[in-house]
Amino acid sequence: MSASFERGMAAFREVMDSPIASFFSSCVHCGLCAEACLFYTETGDPKYTPIHKLDPLKRVWQQEYTLLGRLGALVGLSKPVTEKELEQWSELVYDSCTLCGRCSMVCPVGNDIAYMVRKMREGMSAAGVAPEGMIGATQRAVTLGSPMGVKLPALQAQIRAQEAETGLSIPMDVQGADYMVLLSSMEVMNFPEYIGALGKIFRQAGVSWTLSSKAFEATNSGIQIGASDIAAELVQRIVDAAEGLGVKTVISPECGHAFTAIRWEGPNLIGRPYRFEVKHILEVLEELRQAGRLRTQGCDERPLTFHDPCQIARRGGVIEQPRNLLKSVASDFREMEEHGAMNWCCGGGGGVSANDRAEELRLVAFKRKKGQVEALGVDTLVTACANCRIILEEGLEHYNMDVEVVGLTELVAEHLIEDDK
């Protein structure tokens, strides 16, 4: 079997549910979702209006799931969706949507547009119109265990380096540990200090934790490309490892969509609830801080702000925790005007960062974040998502801005009180 238009159409039919039918029934074409989408606000091109990106899905719904649409189709009044259209829509559904969900927050009739784009990608990927870059990343994730092709030996090498630097030992495959930590390839390759930071924090807090050699990768390309079967396979690896080790809690790394994949979509993908809990690393850190087990000293005095990763804040509900943590280690924390649940995306979420052909558009969309940072006059940007971090760094560099990007976990780790070793 291979991807085909028919498989795509069948997938559209399969994903249709009551919320989608209600959303399409409610849309009054007011166009306000455009004003919430950075791809529209930064380009001014109306084709980037979020609801417009769903046009083929809407027509399938109308023509196949409403009486009037069926009658219309019978007498030849409706325009059937064509393969060519799906190819055209590929750019709108993949390149110009980060699934950030900002449109879903402002729609006056309450349509969750991001929910529908996620569903629409099921059909788009089945029809074979997903971007090459994302297909490649997905294939690597399944065959190699990581979209970036990071294998266990690479991780082990990074762990050894961190152990050397911190003088701590990083636990691996510890049966019965309380926490199993997941990582994203980007952290492994680009920000290995995250692993060291975790080691320091957990040592101070006295937490029993472990990594798994069978499942350390938390990112899930299946979610981004919209192939639930593949996403389920990737989630299953983690579930098997966590349940095999008998951990109580699995910790999602500082990566937005990984959190969505493992925390919110996972149980639905594998078709059953977990026998463990899933928490984002920031939730765990804030719990430890509140319990007095995470003690810090000193404050970073640089003016800094926090970039909310969409999937962690707006689509993940982790909003207060990073602020509490940040305030405990920074004295000049400034909020962007629109933040938390109404933050603006960096432009690289939802698989856009893995999609080479979207790069130019993504850098145009970055102007929104650039403007937000400039308005605050800060020189440090804290965030909690490895993907955001890379996109922010690229964008800042592209626009020649002298702003440093820091991971929140590492920032917290830097201010840990050094206990007797």
Partner: protein, 219 residues
């Protein structure tokens, strides 16, 4: 057919037909929507979502201030004509009488002159909405025949009502008949066009609020 015949038809069989199609259509559409079903969410929710979903239904009545600044015409004209329609439809004495006679519910009316003024504001804002739809690139891209049809069918009852009240163009009986017929047209197309949003927006907001609230976000 005399004006009186037309009026009697519109007040009698016409209304019965229109209300029947409306009731038929709305029930059918609700079946269509709910029959597609929704998979139970197996992920452990952060909070009990019912109250939050209900809150979203109400919260979406208010604009996001940043979006309001970006698109003031959509909001101001949109609010104005929705508010105007509400006043004209539900606070004008003859309309209340109609509701009372069919549903048995009644409430005090506003002075006719005030309703008249609101009707004018409604008409103006509807025209603004149309101009905005034609000139704004986003709205123009999204708009099709249905959008212009529903606009016209929404405008007509207000316009004919205003004209009947002021005895413009046709004798009162004819104008009143046209007014009632225009409302009947609205009822007939309501379930099968985006006018249905007046009902489904509550369902949509509920779903939206529910999806967000499971994750601990008030949307």
């Amino acid at each position: 057919m005399s004006a009186m015949d037309l009026l009697l038809w519109s007040r009698g069989p016409g209304l019965a037909i229109a209300v029947s199609i409306f009731a038929f259509g709305v029930v059918l559409r609700l079946f269509e929507i709910y029959s597609l079903g929704r998979k139970a969410d197996l992920a452990k929710p952060r909070v009990n979502t019912k109250a939050c979903a209900g809150a979203t239904v109400w919260r979406r009545m208010l604009p996001d201030m940043h979006i309001l600044r970006r698109s003031p015409i959509t909001y101001v004209a949109g609010y104005l004509f929705h508010f105007g329609l509400f006043v004209v439809v539900f606070l004008y004495a003859p309309h209340i009488k109609l509701i009372e006679s069919t549903l048995g519910l009644s409430w005090p009316a506003l002075p006719s002159a005030l309703v008249d003024l609101v009707a004018v504001l409604t008409l103006i804002s509807l025209v603004v909405v149309l101009v905005n739809r034609i000139t704004d690139p986003v709205k123009r891209l999204l708009s099709g025949f249905e959008d212009y049809l529903t606009w016209a069918v929404t405008l007509l009852p207000v316009l004919t009502g205003y004209m009947a009240y002021h005895h413009l163009m046709f004798p009162y009986q004819t104008m009143l008949a046209l007014h009632i017929l225009s409302v009947e047209l609205l009822l007939v197309i309501f379930p099968f066009t985006k006018l249905m949003h007046a009902i489904t927006l509550f369902i949509s907001r509920w779903y939206n609020g529910d999806i967000a609230a499971r994750k601990g976000v008030q949307s």
